[in-house]
């Protein structure tokens, strides 16, 4: 790709900055994705089961219900942040 700026589209630097921010956001969200499912639901379950949410052991609850709620929130955050990034860097989306 050359460095010339398209009159209507975003500049090369804007695109690169957008992609860097997008990657950072993705890594952050995937960290939480891992933490609530593989972390809380599997690896830390024996320990978390010592706590309770309502009448359910906490680790068990994360594995059967909690992780799903967090997954949903993660995708919502991703959509909102990506749209903000696209506005910031003048990308059509």
């Amino acid at each position: 790709m050359t460095d010339e700026t398209n009159e209507t589209g975003p500049s090369e630097t804007a695109k690169q900055a957008y992609w860097r921010s997008a990657k950072r956001l993705t890594i952050g969200l995937l960290f939480i994705w891992f933490a609530v499912s593989f972390g809380a639901g599997i690896l830390l379950r024996p320990w978390l089961d010592g706590f309770a949410i309502g009448g359910a052991p906490l680790g068990f609850w994360f594995a059967q219900n909690g992780a799903i709620y967090v997954f949903l929130i993660l995708i919502v955050i991703y959509c909102i942040r990506m749209t903000q990034l696209e506005t910031k860097y003048g990308i059509k989306g």
């Binding site: 379950r45 993660l74 995708i75 990308i91």
Partner: protein, 581 residues
């Protein structure tokens, strides 16, 4: 109004709706046939994706598996939802920005190779046929259990319905039928769950009943369930006998498999932009979560109800008059075998073997404290189907559940048929072997391929009756998708340097190792001590996914970089709006 009337009523009504939609939304061009013209709104596509995704396994088998596996069933809950995070963040928006019709299309273009395209077609066909056999089996179970129709005839009816709307409407017809099917299946799943939650916990929200107290007591429902099952010699409900590494790997294989499944990915080609694809993944997960957060509650309630109604019940043989004998048992202060049990016994999904000859059904786990041997063997698949009867819900609820189970199986089967027909007509014929085909010929080829695929799927369903539970059959498709397709799609987007040699070797590595491992341990030697690092065939796709990726990266690094225009293509699909100027 009896139960049979309501079952026929809902089944005929919903089938009529599906066919009506198919006729209304006939596809006129290949773009409409493959990707519904790229203009499905994100929320509608999310709903269609949810129906496409939630198969006979989710609807019929999952709650039953959870009921018996307890915590061990979490692998399905996390695995089949967590994959959507991967799809939304790593694949869907970029594949949509790429803007073609199929998964092999992306692989073939990104890796500038007909060989890579054909291998991707083979992976897609492999995954889809494994998966579709499970759906057809689900249709057969629903029909034979409720309508007294022969298992094979049930499959033939299902085939005929899918044939009409998949062959006529293509992706456009499938999208709008899937929306209708989602409404049917979610309603059919949650209504009985609400009734059961009220009865067992006194809370009408199943997700809250799940963590609440058992009705009329101060004891949490799950604590009570743990006591009930351990008293009978089963493992605690909130525990598992699977090793942590196996739970980890199965969950991961299901997640990465979800993200790599061609019939899920192609749904995101039907929206208009990368941004719409992201939103659509969110909508899809919302609609899926409505069922998936209810499923663990249904599983726990089902376990309760089963033990409550069957254990220590006095058996009534077919030779006796059920009503008279049941009344007599109650008069003697006993508990007769429930009527639903007798209904389902004929399907072979429930077995009772009176080992101690006392005529009473003892249901026990492997470590029963009273030393009594188990006499009752239920198949996991019947739980959602028989639940409304077990919980003594009205006849119309039961009819609705049958229609819901069929909707779940048919919507997924249709999505899979699209993958199979487009892989043949678009990727094999148009893009590889007969590129000078006109659009009209390609459409005809697509319809013919869909028709042939329906017939093959039905035959698989009929002859695959010896296969294990629906959900477990389907689990294999995930291992294959995770190990063969996910790594090349992911690396194709996030690593510009990835080249055709790397992609081909990665796909072959994943396909051969995963298939070989599953085949060996399922059909040749079931000695679990030989499992690699203690990982079961269900979870091995995760391990071989890393192997495939490693092979792909190493091969890429020792071979030439991809051409300049491919590197530019990769940069383009990372920035939305570039390819749709």
């Amino acid at each position: 109004m009896d139960q049979t009337f309501w079952t026929y009523f809902f089944v005929v009504l919903t089938f009529g709706i599906y066919i009506g939609i198919a006729i209304w939304s006939r596809a006129g061009s290949t773009e409409e046939f493959y990707v519904a013209g790229h203009d499905v709104p994100p929320s509608i596509n999310g709903m269609a994706t949810a129906a496409d995704w939630m198969s006979a396994a989710s609807f019929l088998s999952m709650a039953g598996l959870i009921a018996f596996m307890g915590y061990g069933g979490s692998v399905y809950l996390m695995g089949w939802t967590g994959g959507y995070v991967l799809l939304a963040l790593l694949l869907a928006p970029f594949l949509r920005e790429f803007g073609k019709f199929t998964v092999p299309d992306f692989v073939g273009d990104r890796y500038y190779s007909k060989v890579a395209r054909v291998i991707a077609v083979i992976c897609a066909l492999f995954v889809s046929f494994t998966y579709i056999a499970g759906q057809m089996k689900g249709v057969g179970v629903a029909f034979s259990g409720f309508l007294g129709v022969d298992f094979n005839v049930g499959i033939l009816i299902g085939m005929a319905i899918v044939f009409v709307y998949a062959v006529l409407g293509g992706m456009k017809g499938i999208t709008y039928t899937q929306v209708a099917q989602y409404v049917v299946l979610i309603f059919a799943y949650t209504v009985p769950a609400i009734f059961m939650s009220l009865a067992i916990t006194g809370n009408f929200v199943p997700q809250l009943g799940f963590i609440g107290n058992a009705a009329g007591t101060d004891v949490p429902m799950l604590t009570k369930l743990n006591t009930v099952v351990t008293d009978l010699g089963f493992l605690e409900y909130t525990a598992t006998d699977k090793s942590m590494i196996d739970v980890f790997c199965i969950t991961a294989a299901l997640m990465f498999g979800t993200a790599g499944l061609p019939h899920v990915i192609i749904r995101f080609f039907t929206v208009k932009s990368a941004r719409a694809a992201r939103k659509s993944a969110g909508w899809a997960l919302l609609f899926i979560a409505l069922l998936y957060t209810v499923a663990p509650a249904v599983g726990a309630f089902a376990r309760f109800n089963f033990i409550d109604t069957v254990n220590e019940a006095t058996y009534i043989t077919d030779a006796e008059d059920y009503d008279a004998r049941a009344a007599q048992i109650i008069a003697d202060g006993g508990k007769p075998v429930p009527a639903w049990y007798k209904d389902w016994e004929a399907t072979g999904l429930l077995q009772y073997d009176d080992l101690n000859g006392d005529g009473v059904m003892q249901y026990r786990g492997p470590n029963a404290p009273d030393g009594i041997a188990n006499e009752v063997d239920p198949n996991r698949d019947i739980f959602v189907l028989a639940n409304p009867q077990i919980a003594q819900l009205p006849g119309w609820v039961i009819g609705l559940v049958v229609a819901g189970g069929l909707a779940a199986a048919l919507s997924t089967a249709a999505g899979l048929l699209m993958v199979i027909s487009s892989a043949v007509s678009h990727d094999l014929l148009k893009r590889t072997f007969t590129p000078d085909m006109t659009e009209k010929q390609e459409m005809r080829a697509a319809r013919l391929a869909a028709a042939a695929a329906v017939i093959m799927a039905g035959l698989l369903g009929i002859f695959a009756t010896s296969l294990p539970f629906v959900a477990q059959v389907v689990a294999f498709a995930f291992g294959l998708a995770a190990a063969s397709l996910f790594p090349v799609i992911f690396l194709g987007i996030f690593w510009k340097r990835m080249n055709k040699e790397g992609a081909i070797s990665a796909m072959l590595t994943g396909l051969v190792t995963t298939f070989g491992y599953i085949y060996y341990f399922k059909f040749v030697n079931d000695n679990t001590e030989l499992w690699l690092f203690g990982i079961s065939p269900e979870g091995i796709g995760f391990l071989f996914m890393w192997l495939a990726a490693a092979v792909g990266v190493i091969v890429t690094l020792v071979t030439p970089a991809p051409p300049q225009e491919i590197q530019e293509l990769v940069e383009d699909i990372r920035i939305p709006g570039n390819r749709r100027a």
